[in-house]
Symmetry: C2
Subunit: 323 residues, 2 copies
């Protein structure tokens, strides 16, 4: 933790972070030196993901500090989950307009609650003065042959998703419309659950995986492009939460599910021979896994509506919150 | 590299970065998946440092993109150097007000020039829309017993610094005064040279080390506080470049050297028995190493002027550029 790069009171902020930062036995040196010193486990590959959340771009201005903290870590753990990696450590680089201990305490409440759920140690970072921005780098470990890559989808694979789709985009649509947000939908926007257990369970079983941050069609498109394949999905098969079903009728709902973003569910492909095994994993982990389509050789991702007609979203990709 | 978190044209930016990102044999998967996959060397500790540079806080607005790119990586490699670590990989999280390919190309020119000097692979990151901000996380490897920590200074140790002090702060003083910047001084502000070779050479020989980002007195104070010791330094012993000597007379110069920041030199402590060995290292690495004082048991850092009188800086710590 390289201190005092700009923020007045930064030493106090770092002391507050350090006092609460969870450690692990494999952390030889955490916050407080020029770099953290960490002991790798034997015979694993290091998985590293980094993502930044900016105020006014990635979350509405009225988002609670605890939710910002949760989400900043969640989007990075979601990336590790999509590799089939076991999370271990993270760093936090926090830019704040001014040193605000109460804001920081709230932020840490959310950040560290999620870190504790996944036994992730916060080992370093910095605090700087600047517009509100949170950059997290997450580190995890994966068995070499079991890593879930984007480029490993094969023709004939089933396409699956975890959990339900569209809730976060629905909350954002409600927020934009100026009405009341359904609390269950808003919770999915503010507190995404990184599918770490699902990613670990699928490592070595699934072929390709990606986490859904930009929307199903866009993200599955990345998998197809990287793998040199295509995909066809059935809109009617996309899993919807009760809250989403109650709040949005079918046509609008399908768009939120297919093109909405911020789901932080996993989309993965696996051989049809593994359908039973995946159903078993879903029961064991308590995480729904739904088969929504098939990988084929035609480039691109095609969505079919309930009548079997080709469906085109209004916009090809999801545009995150932009205030 | 988790794409499309907000910036219009982000896919193009990531493709530009990916096309130029240097790789290494130990990078199994670089930019383009949810996380990078990296192979650790055997029997080493992982050193991780992260630092953010914000426009208007850490660099003047007229800084060239290439210099911003260089410095964003340099400050992180400097942290690894201060641990005695060998750099290996980095991630880059870049927030830009708009997708600007020409700006990005310039930024990468500087960033990748320094990466190439140290054989650092750029393995992931993201680009987002937001006020200009650069968050870099650097990864390196260190032999367990040889790591240079802040808390390892011992009473009786000599205090040393690499290179010369005060040039960057002098350039900033000239810039603030609105006059012409001496190019040699400005180069030290814009293109700090991380002392990686010195850190590696000192690992296992020096006791404690820190990189000088906040100013000698403040940073040596961190070492003393962490080690439970104090230090006395001689202002007259602080190494000054010819450019600094030409531009600033002794009293102002001493303040820049003792309290100025952004030097990115190493300050380290070592047993007096190692003076000859350290002089040899300086010759071998071509990096000046100057003995400037001594660790003692009195808390705090005391600076003595040429007459042997206690010297107090006008401000205890260095305040980085704040535009």
């Amino acid at each position: 933790m390289n201190a005092a790069h700009g923020a007045a009171g930064e030493f106090d902020l770092i002391a507050r972070i350090r006092a609460r930062a969870p450690l692990r036995d494999d952390v030889l040196l955490g916050i407080g030196d020029d770099a953290a010193l960490l002991r790798p486990p034997p015979a694993k590959l290091l998985a590293v993901a980094t993502d930044t959340l900016n105020a006014g771009v990635h979350f509405p201005a009225d988002t609670r500090p605890a939710d910002i903290g949760w989400k900043a870590l969640a989007v990075n753990l979601s990336d590790l989950a999509a590799m089939g990696a076991q999370p271990a450590w993270c760093t936090l680089s926090l830019s704040l307009p001014q040193a605000d201990a109460a804001w920081l305490d709230g932020f840490l409440d959310g950040f560290l609650a999620l870190a504790a759920q996944h036994r992730v140690a916060l080992v370093g970072g910095d605090t700087t003065r600047g517009p509100l921005s949170v950059c997290v780098t997450a580190h995890g470990w994966v068995t070499p042959a079991a890593a879930l890559r984007r480029d490993a989808a094969r023709v004939g694979d089933d396409v699956w998703v975890t959990g339900t789709l569209g809730d976060a985009a629905a909350a954002l649509a409600q927020w934009r419309a100026g009405g009341a947000c359904d609390p269950a939908l808003r919770a999915r926007l503010d507190r995404p659950q990184p599918r770490v257990a699902a990613g670990l369970a699928l490592a070595g079983l699934a072929h390709a995986a990606i986490d859904l941050s930009d929307g199903l069609l866009a993200d599955l498109g990345h998998v197809c492009a990287a793998s040199g394949v295509g995909a066809q999905i059935a809109l009617a098969a996309l899993p919807a939460s009760p809250a989403l079903q109650a709040a949005f009728a079918a046509p609008a709902r399908a768009a939120l599910q297919a093109s909405g973003g911020d789901d932080y569910e996993l989309c993965f492909t696996a051989a049809p021979a593994h359908r039973e095994a995946i159903a078993r994993l879903a029961r064991q982990t308590g995480i729904a896994m739904t088969r929504i389509g098939r990988i084929d050789a035609d480039p691109g991702v095609r969505a079919l509506d309930a009548a079997g007609e080709a469906w085109r979203p209004a916009a090809a990709g999801y545009v995150h919150f932009a205030g």
